[in-house]
Symmetry: C2
DNA sequence: CGTACTTTTGAATCGCATCAAATCTGGTGG
DNA sequence: CCACCAGATTTGATGCGATTCAAAAGTACG
């Protein structure tokens, strides 16, 4: 496996110790395929290289409850020390995953100080991001969510999107139409400057209310 | 400090090694008080015993962006190994916190295998819960969010609420009115059985669509 | 050049938020 | 024990904003 190139595109993999890397197996995934099922004995820790994997729990009524959706990065980090998987993992979009034997993964955590610390930092950072996302999704309006995103994910009021706006809309819990319309409005009223993938939150107050209507 | 009683009410504290416990300081908190500010050198890891603490980032426009809201449990877990705090921590509801010196906390993580593993498990579990919550908040309707909650937080379609419904509504990203009304409707159409704090998702299909309208 | 996907705009609808208010609850103090 | 208060619970009416459905134009890719 070409780890050089892989780490280039997936920085999170850099912390994996060489010994553990050698045990990893790459596997291409097809839509609908299942990586594991609820109750399966836990054998592997997965890393999503491409595509999308979903952790789902199936209800009595045949409905799917999505617990997590991963498009790049470690997957089901919480499972690393349990005996069995607690959900099904289904491929939602074709791609590829890396499989690390859980046994070796745990051993590396136990013995490799650097790896362990990196893993701790990784978990903590993911948790921070996820919590911020929850707060964002709790906001009621599209405008609030967009501004929250820029303030929390960006630097100094500027974000550079690495995904399509449609995907951004999904991350914000909005339809893409709502996102497009709100972006346009915020740009029109001077709240945002938009330059392709760079979204800039203007320094001046976003409220310029006393303008009657939309002009005469 | 009476750790016996504290651990009784706060199981998460059980994993803290005795040596670290002795270094903890309890502190009562008043609404509006700030535990730390953005840029402060990181000295303590906090645990919220009662009340509510918010991690907020202030925007140029004077708006507050809430990054996290904690009502019991460790707080800002992600900060444990950074040099400075990246947000302000303000008390939203009066209560009390425990302060653990970050230095000792890190040392305990490095030396105490049991504690370290428990912390790893704790982080992973929090991450799982937070991700599931994000998925839930991405759902568009009150009904879907309620069912998702029961399926993901409950056991076998049954949850016992430990909080008021108003607080539950906030966690679901709904107003309490919307929650009350939807619960009532789901109970009326047989989707849910509600017995005080026990909410039970009926086994039979919640969809009985071919009934034309709302009857004639 | 055609296909698939994103981006963009339009129009209509519906569900949730919002504002209001009444009832119920638990807890406090007289 | 009762009066009283703060908060939760519940119901009603109204409006807005996001969803939904639809369709056109732009873009990337083979």
């Amino acid at each position: 496996m070409d780890w050089e190139a892989l780490i280039e595109s997936q920085p999170a993999l850099a912390v994996i110790p060489p010994k553990l890397r050698e045990l990893a197996a790459r596997r291409d995934t097809e839509t609908g395929e299942m990586l594991f099922r609820l109750g399966d004995r836990l054998r592997d820790i997965f890393y999503v290289v491409a595509g999308e994997i979903r952790l789902v729990r199936r209800t009595r009524n045949g409905m799917d409850i999505v617990m997590q959706r991963s498009r790049g990065g470690f997957f089901a980090e919480a499972s690393f020390n349990t005996k069995v998987y607690h959900c099904d993992a289904v491929v939602a979009r074709p791609g590829a995953v890396l499989r690390f034997p859980a046994q070796a993964f745990r051993a590396a955590l136990a013995t490799d100080v650097v790896f362990r610390n990196a893993w701790l930092v990784h978990l903590a950072h993911e948790l921070l991001k996820s919590r911020a996302r929850c707060e964002r999704l709790g906001l009621k309006s599209a405008e609030q969510r967009i501004i929250h995103y820029i303030e929390s994910e960006g630097a100094d009021g500027i974000v550079t999107l690495s995904e399509s706006r449609k995907a951004w809309a999904a991350e914000l819990g909005l339809t893409h139409e709502a996102l497009y319309r709100t972006l346009r409005r915020l740009q029109a009223d001077g709240t945002l400057d938009i330059d392709a993938d760079r979204i800039i939150l203007s320094r001046r107050k976003k409220r310029t209310p006393p303008v009657t209507g939309s002009a005469s």
